[in-house]
Assembly symmetry: C2
Homo-oligomer: 153 residues x 2
DNA sequence: ATATGTGCAAAACATTTGCAGTGGT
DNA sequence: ACCACTGCAAATGTTTTGCACATAT
């Protein structure tokens, strides 16, 4: 998106501005938190870390920023078994991967092994399903559930 | 509850009894609700329907029954974007399928087309992942997100 | 200038829990 | 008779909302 020299790192300013939204200190803090970790953080955990970067930020802003980013397709929202949503930067930022979810401790492990075959099959399936169900597919979620090695009994 | 001489339909009585749990009127109502629909109902929706079968049932019992059934592996818990969990009988009861989730209206469409290729690839992947991450995989969730035809703009 | 973004406190919401009583085995 | 199960009401924890003010463009 060649739009000159003066927009912030990662083009975030442009991503917001281009859609009629504004880049603010609060949003920057949330994005920096998400950019600097591989963990899958909840809104509250993001809030705690973001406050270190910008002590003025409120939890409400974190929620609203996450919603905005989610609508923009820049983050993915994960809903594991426990009832707090978790968030990660979308694939365009971090590389495509799928998840192993531990049903005991709720840990989420990313994997990107064997992804190529999966993605190939999935995109064929997407095509067929789109046609058959007249459904516009934007995204997919692949998760395996089980017990991680720490939780194995 | 007249269950005749042996164990009730579907062997539910036996499934509970065999694990040291009891079959009760409340549980029967919840199971009958789940058995008689293809929809993905929330706890509250199950409660409303179960109350028609058994007016004495309480919402708490619905939640506790769903948790029990989930632990027993008899139902799957789905966590779509909105924040209420939804439930469906496990594959052993209903046939294996995957999901299309509409991000506008939260409708969930089951599909079982093209499932064979998917399942084949998935079970190979499961094997490799289990070994590599020392993770005991019990289940998987495949969902495509997008817009259903009613919501297409 | 102006509409978008914000923090705060209160509300909304699904889900869980404590407890005393009920009921399956 | 025993202990799992129950409903109720209250508690919990997350996410949302109303509002007056602040701020990016």
């Amino acid at each position: 998106m060649g739009r000159g020299k003066c927009f912030g790192q990662g083009g975030w300013h442009g991503k917001f501005h281009g859609r009629g939204y504004r880049m603010t200190a609060g949003r920057e803090a949330v994005i920096n938190v998400l950019s600097s970790t591989k963990e899958h953080l909840s809104a509250d955990e993001i809030f705690i870390r973001a406050r270190k970067l910008n002590p003025d930020i409120g939890l409400t802003t974190v929620y609203r920023t996450l919603e905005r980013l989610s609508i923009m397709g820049e983050i993915h929202r994960l809903d594991p078994g426990d009832k707090r949503a978790r968030f990660e930067l979308a694939e365009s930022e971090k590389g495509h991967h799928h998840h192993l979810v531990c049903t005991k401790c709720n840990r989420i492990i990313d994997y990107d092994d064997f992804i190529d075959d999966e993605v190939k099959l999935l995109s064929e399936t997407e095509k067929k399903l789109s046609k058959k169900y007249d459904f516009k597919i934007n995204n997919h979620l692949i998760q395996f559930y089980g017990e991680c090695k720490e939780c194995a009994e």
